[in-house]
């Protein structure tokens, strides 16, 4: 699992995750992901290259979303693959970790 962070506006970052968000993958990104969530108002998590997610990976996303929300921001999931989205739906978190299909939709969502 790899992670890259880039600014997309003065108050928002795009976090690109690449690989499996399983136990090993989550352990690798847990700290940098929490730093990104703790230091930016809005976080758009690009999930398009995440090929697998387990509950421990969802935990990482939820903790980040709680951190962002406490400061009045939003955490959005950008373009998860179908199998990954199905796991998120099964857990029932897609209302709490909203899914957007492109960056324009993400920007609209964080400005709404």
């Amino acid at each position: 699992m790899d992670m890259q962070v880039s600014a997309i506006s003065w108050d928002a970052v795009r976090v690109v995750l690449d690989g499996r968000l399983d136990i090993a993958g989550s352990a690798k990104i847990d700290i940098p992901f929490n730093v990104a969530a703790g230091t930016n108002r809005h976080v758009i998590v690009d999930m398009s290259a995440v090929t697998f997610i387990a509950s421990i990976g969802i935990r990482t996303l939820v903790i980040g979303a709680k951190t962002v929300q406490r400061r009045g921001g939003k955490l959005l999931l950008l373009s998860p693959q179908p199998d990954v989205e199905q796991v998120l739906e099964t857990i029932g978190v897609t209302d709490l970790l909203p899914i957007v299909r492109d960056e324009a939709e993400a920007i609209t969502a964080i400005r709404s």
Binding site: D22, I23, A24, A54, S55, I58, T90, I91, V93, L96
Partner: protein, 140 residues
Amino acid sequence: MGHLTLYQAWREIGRFGEWFDLEERALAIPAKLAHAVRLCLEEAVDNLINYTSTTAEGPRIDIELGRQGDTLVAVVRDYGPPFDPRTVPAFSPAKDLETMQPGGWGVHLIRSYATEIDYATGADGNRLTLRFTGSVGPAV
């Protein structure tokens, strides 16, 4: 039937991923089915590493994976206190982020993605058997 023994330690989890990659290829498991099996086994191993204490039999987990006709069968053995995932109360999704307690989803995922779950415990430890048939997917 493929077999893997893991010690109940987080450092071992990388070996599970590598082993499953090999089994997926060796058994020619279709991608969607492989996703379901990998998810269920990872959740089972996660629970065991988190919650099962060391016993005289040793802190280990044995995993087997093989085919029985059109069914893929995964068996997870451990030697700690019994924990039958079938007895866990039904899952209730969180309503808001503020009060949400992240975690506790593993059993729900296993029950959603496995076609059939059996659990037995005895002198030779605990045995979780998960069966998967062709058209897998969660019963959301």
